[in-house]
C-alpha cells in the first residue's frame, strides 16, 4: 500500500499526486516511470514520475483522466492509498550538455517533460520550452517551466491563452528564425510527437520522444509494449520509454494502442454509471489491505 500524501487538481481532469514510496524516491531519475494498480481487480498502468523527493521518501505523478483507471485514480484524495506502485522503471533520459535543447510538452506530457527539462538545464544546456494545451484551463506547470527554461513558448489550440496554434508552429518559428537546435525532446499525444518528428527529420535535428504503449509488467517480461524501431521490435519498458523519434513507427504505436478500445469503452461506461460504488469498493479494499499489512507486521 502506498499512501497518497497530497492530491490536487492542476487543471480540470489533471491531478497531481504526491505518494509515499521511499524506495522509488531514492532511485528515480528523469524520464523513468512507475506502474500502478489501484485495487485487486484493477489493471496495471504506467505513469511517468514527475519528481521525487528522496529525503521525504515521496514521488510525484501527474495523471490525466482518460479511461476508467485514470478516472478512478483522479477520484482518490489525500489520505487514500494506491495498492501497488512499482518502479522506477525504464531507462532514464540521456542527460548531457547538448547545447540548445527544445523541450516540448503537449497536454499532460508537459508534466513528463518537466523533470528532464530541469535535468537538462542543470547539465548546462540552453533550454527552450514549448508547451501546448487544448485550451487555457488545461495549461499546466507554466510557472515551473518558466523558472527552468531560458525561454518559454505557449500555445493553446483554441487561442484562449497565449498564442493560438500548435507546439509545432512554435518549433517551425524557431527553425525558420535560424535558431541552432541541438536536441528536441517531445512528450505528448502521439499525433503531436509524430508531427514534431516529421518536422525535425527534414532539418536533421536529433529528436527524442517518450512512448506510451500498452504495458503490463514493465520489466520486459510480457513484450506487450513492443514498438517498432527501425523495423525491429523493442520493448518500451526496458529499452525505452524514450526513443529516437526518427526511427519510431508511429502508425504501429497508434494501431497497437487501439487494440482494446471496445473493452476500454465498456469499462469506462460501467465506471461512469457506478462511479460512487466503485470508488467505495476501492476504499474498502484499501482499508482491508492496511489492516492486513498491520497484522503482518
Amino acid at each position: 500500500m502506498f499512501k497518497i500524501l497530497e492530491a490536487e487538481f492542476l487543471a480540470p481532469g489533471i491531478k497531481r499526486f504526491v505518494i509515499e514510496a521511499p524506495r522509488i524516491a531514492r532511485k528515480q531519475k528523469p524520464g523513468q516511470f512507475v506502474i500502478l494498480r489501484l485495487y485487486e481487480e484493477g489493471e496495471r498502468i504506467p505513469i511517468t514520475i514527475e519528481h521525487s523527493d528522496p529525503e521525504r521518501g515521496t514521488i510525484g505523478i501527474v495523471v490525466q483522466s482518460a479511461g476508467k483507471t485514470t478516472n478512478l485514480l483522479n477520484s482518490l484524495k489525500t489520505g487514500d492509498s494506491i495498492l501497488d506502485v512499482v518502479g522506477p522503471l525504464g531507462k532514464p533520459s540521456h542527460i548531457d550538455k547538448f547545447g540548445t535543447v527544445v523541450v516540448m510538452g503537449g497536454g499532460v506530457g508537459t508534466a513528463m517533460a518537466y523533470p528532464t527539462a530541469v535535468a537538462l538545464k542543470r547539465a548546462g544546456n540552453r533550454v527552450i520550452s514549448i508547451v501546448g494545451a487544448r485550451t487555457k484551463e488545461l495549461v499546466i506547470l507554466e510557472r515551473e517551466l518558466r523558472e527552468t527554461s531560458d525561454a518559454l513558448m505557449l500555445t493553446t489550440d483554441d487561442g484562449t491563452y497565449a498564442d493560438k496554434g500548435f507546439v509545432t508552429d512554435k518549433l517551425r518559428q524557431l527553425i525558420e528564425n535560424g535558431t541552432r537546435i541541438d536536441l528536441v525532446l517531445a512528450i505528448g499525444p502521439i499525433p503531436m510527437m509524430r508531427a514534431v518528428a516529421e518536422m525535425t527529420r527534414k532539418e536533421r535535428i536529433r529528436t527524442i520522444v517518450s512512448l506510451n504503449p500498452i504495458m503490463i509488467d514493465g520489466t520486459g517480461m510480457c513484450g506487450g509494449c513492443r514498438v517498432l524501431i527501425d523495423g525491429k521490435s523493442e520493448f518500451a519498458c526496458v529499452d525505452g520509454p524514450e526513443f529516437d523519434a526518427h526511427r519510431v513507427d508511429f502508425s504501429v504505436l497508434v494501431q497497437r494502442n487501439s487494440m482494446y478500445r471496445t473493452a476500454e469503452q465498456k469499462s469506462m461506461e460501467d465506471f461512469q454509471r457506478e462511479t460512487k460504488s466503485q470508488i467505495e469498493s476501492v476504499r474498502a479494499q484499501q482499508t482491508a489491505a492496511c489492516a492486513l499489512q498491520g497484522e503482518l507486521r
Binding site: 484493477g42 501497488d84 509488467d217 517480461m221 513484450g223 506487450g224 526496458v238 487501439s258 487494440m259
Partner: protein, 489 residues
Amino acid sequence: MTQSTEQPPKQKSLNPVPLKERMKVPRQHMLEQEPLLRAANFTEVNLGYSEELARREAQRCLECAKPVCTTDCPVGVKVKEFVQLIVAGDYLGAAAKIREDNVLPAITGRVCPQEDHCEGGCLMGKKVEPLGIGYLERFVADYEQRHLDISNLPKAPTTGKKVAIVGSGPSGLTAAGDLVQKGHQVHVFEALHEIGGVLVYGIPEFRLPKAIIRQQVDYMRAMGVEFETDVVVGRTVTIDELMNEEGYDAVFIGTGAGLPQFMGIPGEHLNGVYSANEFLTRINLMHAYEFPKYDEPMVDFRGKNVAVIGGGNTALDAIRSALRLGAGHAFILYRRSEAEMPARIEEVKHAKQEGIEFQVLAAPLEFLDDGKGWLAGARCQKMALGEPDASGRRRPVPIEGSEYEIPLAVAVIAIGTSANPIVQSTTPGLNTNKRNYIDADPLTQRTSRKGVFAGGDIVTGSATVILAMGAGRRAAKSINEYLTGSGTW
C-alpha cells in the same frame, strides 16, 4: 551419505496387499472434469483423489529397497516413506515427510513432469503403469491444507543472519522455505504484485489454481518468511544496496528466464499477435478472462481461429486457455513432430481430449495483415525431420515449395524465453555467460560475487518448476553453509 555398518531392523510393511499382488492393482485414475465441460471454464481439470483412492494407489507401491523415485527427484522427496504413511492413514505425517524436502507439495503435485523424474524411475513402470506419485503428493498436500493448523508452526532458533531472495518463483520460494527452517531471517522480493513468479503469471488456473499458490505462500509466511511485492531488484533497489545498506548477509537470485522470444518474422507487431508471456499474464495474473469484473481486457476469441506456435507446456497452457476463451478452432503449430514436443504427457492428453488440434511439422514464415493492422492469417511452411540437433531432438528442415496460408485471428508465440537482464546489468562483478544467464556453480549455486547465489531459469535457461526448486534447495544448503561456516568464498 554415510553408510551404517548395522543393518536397520527390517520393518514389517503395513501394506495389506501382498507384494506379488500389487502389480495387478491398476493405477487409480484421478477424477477429472469432463473434457467438453472443462473446455469452457477455467476451473481445475483434475479433481483429486478421495482418501479411498489415495490409499488404494499407495498400496501399489513396491517399497523398493533402493527407491529410484527418490534419487530421480530433483529435491529428493522420500517417496517410499510418505507413501507408507498414506497406507497407514497418517496423511499429515505424509505431508510432513514430503515437506522435509519440498516446501511446495501442492504445486509440484500438480505441475511436475513426474514422467521425467519420480514416476519415470518407478520400477512398476517397467511392466505396468508406474505408481501415481504426483497424484499422491497432491492428495497429501491438499489434505494438509484442509486439516493442518499452521498458526503455531515450530520455528528454528534464530541465527541472526539475513538472506534476501530475489524473485518469488519456484527456486526462490524453495530456497526461502529451506533457509527459514535453519533459523535465518528470510526476505523475499517480488517485482509483480502477487507472490509466485511463473506459478502465478505463467500457469493457468485450470492447471494450478491461484488459491493453491496462496495457501502454500501462507504456509511459508507462517514459517516466518517475509514477502515484499512491487520491488524490481536492480531498479527499485540493487543487490549491492541490499548487502551494504540493508544488512543482508547473502542474496539468492532466482529471477527466471523472463524475456519472451519472438520469431523475427514479418507481421509480429500486428494486433492479435501475442507473446505467450503476455497472453498468459493477461489471463493468469490479470484475470482477463474475468473481464469486466477485472479491468484487464483481452481481444475477443469467440469463434475465432487461434494458433499457438511452440510445443512446450507454455504452448499448451496458452492454447487451452484460448479454447476456454471461446476460440472456434484452436491449434498448436509445431515445427517438429509430436515425439519431440517437450510438453508434459498429461497436458498433451488433456489438450487432445478438449479438442485441441496439433499441426506438427509446420512453422509460420510471416503473419498477414488484414489491411487495418490486425492479424488476418499466417503464411506457413512444412517441415521434415533431419538429424538430431544440440538438444538431441531431430532438427526440423524446411520443405521447399511447401508454403501455404491459414486464416488466423490470434497467434501466440510460445517458442521460449531468454534471460531477464535487469539484475545482471545492475550488479557489477556478477559474471554471466554469452547468453546473459548468470554463471553459478552447479552444486553450490555460488556466483562470482561473494555472498551472492543464483539458481533456476536465470542460470540454466527455461526449464521446469521442479528443476528450479532443486536449484533453490542446493542454494539454500550452500547459503546455510556459507552463513554458519567460515564465510570464505
